[in-house]
Symmetry: C2
DNA sequence: TAATTTAATATACACGCCGTATGTATGGTA
DNA sequence: TACCATACATACGGCGTGTATATTAAATTA
């Protein structure tokens, strides 16, 4: 088979892996591309050929992490069913995901600053889209109030992410997590037509 | 009177003003300290003497904008009274404030990435504190459910900020703003003990 | 299989920016 | 008036990015 494509894919994977580590530990700005590439036995030549520039590498990293997050959230939702409980479960899953330092630093802090508004990212918007679809169905079912589905989906995600940041930055995350989840659930019930 | 302190204060103000402009337009990373200081007839010497480093300048800028935001939100709340309506009004005020590109870029994007978690900033935490106080009073009054006041305050602020980012990034902000406000209000009613 | 072409990666260079160390000049003070 | 402190300017070193050129290894074709 094609040898070149294979090694190229391997090199891309190696660079992304090293970048996840470096970006998470030192932050995007403080990560040297020379060091990063040298760590995996390459030079900046490979990097600029594969990703265009430093931002391109960050975008690739963000996309990877983001898709992992979406998969995780989707699994959590599936476990809780496709109705109201599923929507709640997805939000809670996001909160828990953002406890990961990699997610915090790369996706929540540096990502927006360097790449711009997350809702424009292809990966995030897919996740948002799925949330929006559930909301739309629940509205049609009469479970939720008649509000703009996209607005509701965005604010739910936003609240969840913010809760996650709070939990992550706190001194005792395991104590704060349940409070955050409780507050999130309470807020979410505001969308219900007939409150629980 | 003391001439030196006066000119120093003037220079600080000039630098902060120029930084607000540069950071808002080009972003923090792309703003050159040489250019910035030259714009106001100074050199980096003045900057590093007054603010320590580039981050220090950003911190000063963020603090200034942040305090302006807090003042604005407080005023909006006062106008709507000190109860539940005031809490809502404060959230809506935040959403509207974040339509300002300066606020978006500096406070919401670059600020967290460079300075770290916003809840640690002295200015923001003061605003959060005031929200928390209202929530606590409303809980004591029996207006709100028995939930953690800090959690509720944080998620409210988080949802509002996220709504603002969405509105700001949209093609037709004036159309999206009412949807965001409606969704925010709906979410917030989830905190009420007896839903409206 | 040998020559040729393609392209993935390495190397080398130019430029800009930050932070610091040192110099200078002006305002306060005795 | 002479001295000192300090706010600011100047000069320097180092690092990091992005790009242009070179090299090497794989794929293709005859």
């Amino acid at each position: 088979m094609n040898q070149r494509l294979k090694t190229m894919a391997e090199n891309r994977a190696k660079l992304i892996l090293a970048a996840r580590k470096a970006f998470a530990e030192k932050g995007y700005a403080a990560s040297s591309m020379d060091d990063l590439t040298a760590d995996v036995g390459l030079t900046r030549g490979a990097l600029y050929h594969n990703f265009g520039d430093k931002r391109g590498l960050l975008a690739a990293v963000v996309e990877q992490i983001d898709s992992e997050m979406a998969a995780h959230a989707k699994k959590a939702r599936a476990k809780a069913g496709d109705g109201w409980q599923g929507l709640l479960a997805e939000g809670v899953a996001y909160i828990e995901l953002a406890l990961d330092p990699e997610v915090q630093r790369i996706v929540l802090l540096d990502g927006p600053a360097v790449l711009g508004d997350p809702s424009q990212w292809p990966s995030q918007s897919s996740c948002l889209e799925s949330t929006k679809l559930i909301v739309e169905r629940l509205i049609a079912e009469g479970t939720l109030k008649q509000i703009d589905a996209e607005a509701a989906a965005r604010l739910l995600n936003g609240a969840a992410l913010n809760a996650a940041l709070w939990v992550a930055a706190s001194a005792a995350p395991q104590d704060v997590l349940p409070k955050a989840v409780a507050a999130f659930s309470a807020l979410a019930t505001g969308l219900l037509k007939a409150p629980a």
